[in-house]
């Protein structure tokens, strides 16, 4: 059963999909690791290609059933003398493995989508951690007893209620029209199976628009400048140009 529910009552425009047995079918990830989150959350309007489509997933939810799989723990002082620091990282192989797994999913999302940040949910049986990933690192919440405390439900409610921009989505990126796509494929000599995106670069007087080949998530940890370069079709001028995406 891949479809968990069309939507939850606290995020009615989203669908929660049991993606645990499906590989990523986005064709937009270049990882040697398996991209197979337990649950993917999509908008109902999403054009996802299957149960696991990391390029369209809004949220990724990963389940673990043992505390030792949690990459994080209570903050404790580590090292000795003047080098003492407070750390909340669990020093175990299972914890590091989970950290790697959720990092891969976040890297695949950040790499294949146009967004400034993504959120993920890590459930360790009876508690949950909310995580916000961007290009500077990841902010992790304290453990939340999600059956007794409202924060997880409140997270879904707020995630649904805010504008896409606050969820990290780059709203200047969209899908080209059929005519734009055809012109871009001819100009850039792209196969009809190649996924395209349209990016708009607004200026005070006009809006430059380009059609590009949708990018792939690469196996790099999220922190970094994430500068990307694209061979692009300039819609206004009808020719091939180079576009650099940086921040």
């Amino acid at each position: 059963m891949s479809q968990i529910k069309a939507a939850s009552p606290f995020a009615p425009d989203f669908e929660f999909v049991n993606s645990s047995t499906f590989w990523d079918c986005s064709c937009q990830s270049a990882f040697s690791f398996d991209i197979k989150p337990d649950i993917c959350v999509y908008t109902k309007k999403s054009t996802r290609r299957g149960p696991t489509d990391i390029a369209h997933a809004e949220l990724v939810i990963e389940f673990k059933w043992h505390t030792h799989d949690d990459p994080f723990t209570f903050p404790t002082l580590i090292d000795e003398g003047e080098d003492k620091i407070l750390s909340f990282l669990r020093d175990s192989k299972a914890g590091v493995n989970t950290a790697g797994q959720i990092t891969v999913y976040a890297a695949a999302q950040l790499g294949s989508q146009f967004c400034t940040c993504v959120y993920s949910v890590l459930i360790i049986q009876s508690y949950v951690r909310l995580i916000r990933w961007d290009r500077t690192g990841a902010i992790v919440s304290e453990p939340i007893d999600f059956n007794q405390q409202p924060h997880l439900v409140e997270f879904f409610r707020r995630y649904f209620k805010v504008l896409p921009k606050l969820r990290g989505m780059d709203t200047t990126v969209g899908v080209p029209t059929a005519d734009e796509a055809l012109a871009a494929r001819n100009c850039l000599q792209l196969d009809k199976d190649i996924i395209l995106a349209k990016i708009a670069i607004p200026s005070p007087t006009l809006k430059w628009q380009y059609v590009i080949r949708a990018q792939k998530g690469e196996p790099y940890t999220p922190p970094g400048h994430a500068t990307r370069g694209f061979e692009a079709y300039d819609i206004e001028r009808g020719r091939k140009v180079f576009v650099k995406d940086t921040w």
Binding site: F10, F33, G100, A138, I139, S141, V162
Partner: protein, 68 residues
């Protein structure tokens, strides 16, 4: 990747602070959406294995919800 990422994790951040920082109340559109009731995830946390928990995870929240 897990080892590589370790130095970039920051936390633990209090849950309320997390929500209010990244999803401030004033930024929310006014819409009626179900709100939390305690024990609405009973069917999830009582699963014996992780894989059994996926399906009840969201459907359990349909139980005893109110709208606000």
């Amino acid at each position: 990747m897990g080892m590589e990422m370790r130095k970039y994790f920051l936390g633990p951040m209090p849950a309320t602070e997390f929500l209010n920082t990244f999803f401030p109340k004033q930024s929310l559109k006014k819409r009626k959406i179900a709100s939390f009731r305690a024990n609405c995830f009973d069917t999830v946390i009582t699963c014996e294995t992780e894989t059994q928990a996926y399906v009840p995870f969201v459907s359990s929240s349909f139980i005893n919800v109110s709208y606000s």
